[in-house]
């Protein structure tokens, strides 16, 4: 669908943008729901398959890595109430997807949701954006920053989330992160001393690191690289080296930041329909 935007005022552009967004909002995201449960089930099944059914550990490692890379986005849909809004019939499903999908990533839903809302409110603010520390000069630097942010006394990454939660008056939610981490480390250390260190390392510990790096790169660094504060400046459209599927739809993340309730699967179409408006607004659209 093409829009004649020439001569439109700012408010007319906004109305046209909102009309496009409206058409793509409130579509039930079946894919995200199926994705969430299937992904978790596959990751959980790897453990008995490797321990008891002879699945080679290296195959388990590859699948587990993909599982953890895939684990964040269904929760992200839930964080934005895309599956079901508060008070609606399927709200339980929204919350279930939110809580379950990031278990392999060891990221509690409430921590993810509250800090992500802060990211949306304060994108690129060095003091208030919990994801600000993913800023980097180049792709390799972004990968390095992600690793640095995971060091014990780092100030960025998940370590920045505690400060963000304290700032918004939800230090109680930090406890979710504490509990998740204690359980995670207790499980992998127990497995390791029972003689299953390699299995723990290759089915959870290392895939979690690789997955976190991937998520940090494609869901945080790449769409915001080169941006600044402002509705039409904080996120860019870009051509990902791994394509739209390989980057999990992040080429069109700009649409998500403008209209967070559009399901992930609909953002490419919404982008194509909005493109002229985004260009008129001066958005960065690179290689698309």
């Amino acid at each position: 669908m093409s829009i004649q935007i020439e001569g439109m005022s700012s408010s007319e552009l906004m109305a046209a943008e909102r009309e496009i967004a409206r058409r793509h909002t409130d579509n039930f995201p079946w894919l995200s729901v199926i994705w969430s449960f299937t992904n978790l089930a596959v990751w959980l099944s790897l453990w008995p398959l490797v321990f008891f059914a002879g699945l080679p550990l290296w195959i388990g490692f590859i699948i587990a890595t993909l599982n953890i890379m895939l684990s964040y986005l269904p929760s992200h849909e839930a964080q934005h109430d895309i599956i079901a809004r508060p008070g609606t019939r399927l709200r339980w499903l929204n919350q279930l997807v939110g809580h379950l999908s990031t278990i392999p990533l060891v990221l509690p839903y409430r921590v993810a949701k509250l800090t992500h809302m802060e990211h949306h409110k304060h994108t690129h603010d060095p003091e208030l954006d919990p994801d600000y520390d993913t800023h980097a000069n180049s792709p390799l630097h972004a990968i390095w920053k992600s690793i640095v942010n995971r060091q014990p006394r780092a100030t960025g990454g998940f370590n920045a989330y505690g400060n963000a939660l304290a700032r918004i008056g939800r230090p109680d939610v930090v406890l979710d992160g504490v509990i998740y981490n204690i359980i995670f480390y207790a499980i992998i250390c127990t497995l390791a001393w029972q003689g299953y260190a390699l299995e723990a390392a290759l089915l959870w510990w290392l895939p979690r690191h690789i997955g976190t790096t991937y998520i940090s790169y494609y869901l945080s660094w790449a769409p915001h690289h080169g941006g600044s504060k402002g509705r039409y400046k904080d996120t860019r459209g870009f051509r990902a080296a791994l394509g739209n599927i390989g980057s999990m739809g992040m080429q069109y993340h700009i649409v998500h930041h403008l209209h967070p309730r559009i399901p992930l699967i609909r953002t490419p179409r919404a982008f194509r329909e909005m493109r002229d408006i985004l260009e008129a607004r001066g958005c960065k659209i690179e290689g698309l």
């Binding site: 060091q151 014990p152 780092a154 981490n181 250390c189 390791a192 390699l198 723990a200």
Partner: protein, 71 residues
């Protein structure tokens, strides 16, 4: 006057503060030991693989505990 934190909070705080050492002895030591055994090094210079794992954990874990980073 500063209020004293509950015991559970202090214990959790200590666990997280000592995270690098706990992770080193809890995970890196057995992982190193099992990797060495898998590659056929059950004993190195008279030290069993588990001893080597504990030594690696002590050195690397202490360094990470001191510097606040693994690498």
């Amino acid at each position: 006057m500063e209020q004293k934190q509950p015991l559970a909070f202090r214990i959790i705080g200590t666990i997280f503060y000592l995270g690098p050492l706990i992770f080193a002895f809890g995970f890196i030591a057995p992982l190193t030991s099992q990797l060495l055994s898998m590659w056929g090094y059950e004993v190195i210079a008279g030290v069993p693989a588990v001893g080597v794992g504990l030594f690696v954990a002590l050195v690397w874990g202490s360094w990470a505990q001191w510097r606040g980073k693994w690498i």
